[in-house]
């Protein structure tokens, strides 16, 4: 064992850092592992804002926030978890401000809030259009203040499971090489999402679903894996994110005929309907020939230069750099892109999984607060509130338990496995498998899904997994071997893809982000008001789990 800790957090984005801070403040010996420096985490790319019923822009309360979230989830969200999120959100946001988060302000100096998709009131607290960046910075400042140990640029590869407990993590030291075992009484997975499953994604290269597969391989179930959110406004060709905040400030979505086409699909909320509704609307317009080179148009010209420069400066920079378009003068061509995984590691409202000692928080987890579709601004809120909760619970449990066991064999087994991979010289380079996975997922498991395409995708993924058995890592060295870590990441993605397809086929209805307009166009509460649950036993095994309903009965969902 390299070292031993009370709480070991894997991933140092908003959820990871918030969990570590909470665990530290609760008196635990806590450390973080991150395959990239904490401030590089993809939480920093979040733009539009963080939701809480502060009531600074209008009358608001946690109850309304909760209902909006439940409805937004297409009634698949667990209402107890959602209530907790919305109740604790305001204090959690104030805590961030007390730590120094640089929020934009109202006229009277309070935290500014803007309207966002599917919200009954403007409750998205923001910092221009770089809210994620601002939160990552303030959390990192608090991490530095507490001098929290971070195993930086260490790649978490396997969980150590011993005596039916998670007792640590096996990592590859990316900076200097070598497999290391770190023992811990509790492990909190905070590794984010898996957007890299798709071509055209808002996600960073680092978003390869690591924590989900780690949990899966440790025998823990993943929930609602078919639920991948496609963000309506991403740039071609790679999927760079253009924030919902643009629409919050009043931007329009137009088709090739210059119409605000959402009047057909969401006549009340229009551009501020929920993301799945808008992505489907866009995809329909594009498929039916009213797109512009495979995109629709996000028009902000009427907002005026002043407002765009003041509140959407980052957006303008992205648009100029990656689309060659100045939104002050021209509409930005956008289209749906894989963005956020509502599904993930099955946890309770404290972030605890079915494996003792193992927690998950943030995008990697599925509590579920987002159900079949997430509201913009709720993801950042989840990282903070559930990061905090899992950090606290893990610390309390760790402080009440004393042992950590990491048998020698665990490390030596891992070393053998790694050697097999590194020794291989005949085979295929990962990039072909990776690219084929991403392109086929986009084609067969995207915004709209059909039985035959999903079946086909299942076969494709199986074939890719077979080819992966022969994957070749060219760099055999120890120093900064990202060739190796990228190959391991591909392995994570392939297992997740398999799970997602199985769940997608099994859910024979359309709900939230899982849209089957050709074979199952309606939502079917009688048969499918439940979560998919997948475990791994040499392949995905499917099960179901009921949705927790406390206050709200499912109703028709229109915007």
């Amino acid at each position: 064992m390299e070292a031993k800790h009370d709480v070991l957090v894997v991933g140092a984005g908003c959820a990871g850092m918030r969990a570590a801070i909470e665990a530290f403040d609760a008196g635990a010996d806590v450390a973080m592992i991150s395959k990239i420096h904490p401030t590089r985490s993809h939480s920093g790319a979040a733009e539009g804002g963080i939701n809480a019923a502060l009531g600074n822009a209008s009358e608001d309360d946690p109850e309304t926030h909760a209902f909006d979230t439940v409805k937004g989830s297409d009634y698949l969200g667990d209402q107890d978890a959602i209530q907790i999120l919305c109740d604790e959100a305001p204090d959690d946001v104030y805590q961030l401000e007390h730590w120094g988060a640089v929020f934009s302000r109202t006229e009277d100096g309070r935290i500014a809030q803007r309207p966002f998709g599917a919200a009954g009131a403007p409750r998205t607290a923001y910092a221009a259009d770089i809210t994620g960046h601002v939160l990552v910075q303030v959390l990192y400042e608090q991490v530095v203040k507490r001098d929290i140990l971070t195993y930086e640029e260490w790649f978490a590869w396997k969980l150590v499971v011993e005596d039916d407990r998670c007792q640590g993590v096996i990592c590859w030291d990316l900076l200097n090489g070598g497999l290391k075992a770190i023992g811990a009484k509790t492990v909190i997975l905070a590794t984010g999402g898996a957007g890299r499953l798709y071509t055209g994604t808002t996600n960073a290269y680092a978003c390869t679903g690591d924590g989900m597969t780690l949990a899966l391989r440790a025998g823990v179930a993943l929930k609602d894996m078919e639920m991948m959110q496609f963000h309506p406004t991403t740039l071609a060709p790679t999927g760079v994110l253009i924030t919902e905040g643009c629409r919050g400030e009043g931007a329009y979505l137009l088709n090739s005929e210059g119409e605000r086409f959402l009047k057909t699909y969401a006549p009340n909320a229009m551009e501020l309907a929920s993301r799945d509704v808008i992505s489907r609307a866009e995809q329909t317009e594009i498929d039916e020939g009213r797109g512009v080179n495979g995109n629709v148009l996000l028009d902000m010209r009427h907002l005026g230069a002043e407002k765009i420069i003041e509140r959407l400066h980052g957006t303008r920079e992205l648009s100029l750099t990656f689309a060659g378009v100045d939104p002050i003068y021209e509409p930005i061509p956008v289209r749906p892109g894989a963005h956020y995984h509502m599904g993930g590691v099955d946890t309770d409202v404290w972030g605890l999984t079915s494996l003792e000692g193992l927690y998950a928080a943030g995008e990697v987890a599925c509590v579920s607060v987002h159900g079949a579709n997430r509201l913009g601004g709720n993801a950042l809120m989840e990282t903070i509130t559930y990061g905090k909760r899992s950090g606290r619970h893990a610390a309390e449990w760790a402080l009440a338990n004393t042992t950590v066991t990491v048998p020698e064999s665990v490390l030596s087994d891992a070393e053998r496995e790694l050697k097999t991979l590194l020794d291989r010289r005949d085979g295929e380079r990962p990039w072909r498998i990776r690219d084929e996975l991403a392109i086929t997922m986009h084609e067969n498991f995207g915004v709209f899904r059909r039985e035959d395409q999903m079946q086909k995708q299942g076969d494709i993924v199986e074939g890719l997994r077979e080819r992966y058995e022969r994957v070749v890592v060219e760099d055999k060295g120890n120093v900064f071997n990202s060739d190796l870590t990228q190959a391991l990441e591909l392995g994570f993605l392939l297992e997740l893809a398999q799970c997602m397809v199985v769940c997608g086929i099994a859910r024979k209805e359309s709900r939230g982000a899982h849209a089957r307009p050709h074979d199952y166009p309606e939502r079917d509460d009688e048969n499918f008001l439940k979560h998919t649950l997948v475990t791994w036993d040499d392949g995905p095994e499917l099960d179901w789990k009921p949705v927790t309903m406390t206050k709200w009965e499912p109703k028709e969902r229109t915007y």
């Binding site: 990239i36 401030t39 920093g44 640089v102 071509t199 060709p237 750099t321 084929e436």
Partner: protein
């Protein structure tokens, strides 16, 4: 880097990359040529090379959208974010750029630098809020106006990419210099209305390798991909240090003599600059140097003083400025709105009253 675009136009991209193996200390310039879509950035090209030509090429990357700060590297000796650097125009111009690791930091492997010294300087700024207030009423947010928030808006943009540090001339000569990134982070706190440790911070940042070691080369402003303008952040710190009376450094004394000169003779009173800055004893020890300068007329005789015309206007202006109290960093912040317009690239006909005011 797969995409679903059909009929993508491609181009041949040539690069030279400085490879470095830290275990052997071997450095080698290697040339690469790959086919890539026309829309690619430098980062995309590195990916293609790593995937299809040489898997051992090492570089950092993550977001590919200019916010994580991972991919700082030098192109033709100037630090850039690889994900922000479009290759089309470079290829069209027939140019073969040379890619190397960022400067002023030890190279770990190829384009990966050891960021430890960078983070150490960051940590040395005590980069966390030190609130000096009671918890705000009802546990809610501390009230800060948008105007006061704007004071640190630019510094808050910093993504810690290292491009500013890469070409810092002062740091190259004096590696212990705190540098533009750390000092800009320091200004983020000095300018934060909620932070109570202003004077303490200014004292910390005014040490041997702090604010007053900045050589004003402006490479940091030029290289920063986010518009932080670290040199201006350092100037804001300097202004605030003077305002708060943290003024014992030679750098401050030097500056104060400039101010005094404008009020008395208009032009800089060069002759007295050395003793005023470095003290009489140091000035005496530099007598030999001064005499050599004097022989060539480089030490203007201060008597009779060369006084500019209407100097009393300058004196009066100084008094007016002090009365109006826009001291410290406010003097620089007041100009940020106008200077930002240089980045707007608005069309002439759209520069309306609204955007101008």
């Amino acid at each position: 880097m797969a995409t679903i675009e059909t009929a993508e136009q491609t181009m041949q991209v040539k690069l030279k990359i400085w490879r470095f193996d830290s275990s052997t200390g071997e450095r080698a310039l290697k040339e690469y040529e790959v086919e890539a879509p026309e829309w690619v950035t430098l980062l995309d090209v590195l990916d293609i090379i790593k995937d299809r030509v040489d898997g051992s090429l090492a570089y950092r990357k993550s977001c590919r959208m200019m916010i994580c700060g991972s991919c700082g590297m030098r192109m033709d000796g100037a630090a850039v974010l690889a994900c922000k650097t479009r290759m089309y125009e470079i290829v069209q111009a027939g140019h073969v750029p040379v890619i190397s690791a960022m400067g002023n930091l030890p190279i770990h492997k190829d384009l990966v630098v050891d960021m430890e010294p960078f983070w150490q300087k960051f940590n040395a700024m005590k980069p966390w809020l030190q609130p000096g207030y009671e918890e705000p009423p009802e546990g809610k947010e501390y009230r800060v106006s948008q105007e006061r928030t704007k004071v640190i808006e630019k510094e808050a943009l910093c993504i810690n990419c290292g491009c500013c540090v890469s070409e810092c001339n002062a740091m190259e000569s004096s590696p212990a210099f705190l540098g533009p990134q750390a000092l800009a982070k320091g200004m983020r706190f000095v300018g934060d209305a909620r932070d109570a440790a202003t004077v303490e911070r200014l004292e910390d940042y005014s040490g041997e390798h702090g604010i007053w070691e900045c050589t004003r080369c402006y490479f940091c402003n030029e290289r920063c991909p986010k518009g932080v303008d670290p040199r201006d952040a350092i100037a804001k710190l300097g202004a605030e240090a003077v305002k708060q009376g943290v003024d014992q450094d030679m750098g401050v004394k030097h500056a104060k003599w400039f101010i005094k000169s404008t009020e008395t003779t208009g032009w800089l009173r060069e002759t007295e600059l050395v003793p005023k800055t470095q003290g009489v004893i140091s000035a005496i020890s530099q007598m030999k140097f001064a005499m050599k300068l004097a022989r060539h007329g480089k030490v203007p005789i201060p008597v009779p003083p060369h006084v500019a015309d209407k100097v009393d206007e300058a004196r009066a202006l100084h008094k007016v400025v002090h009365e109006q109290g826009r001291l410290g960093y406010d003097g620089i912040v007041q100009g940020e709105r106008a200077l930002a317009k240089l980045d707007y690239h608005l069309r002439e006909e759209d520069k309306t009253e609204e955007t101008e005011a």
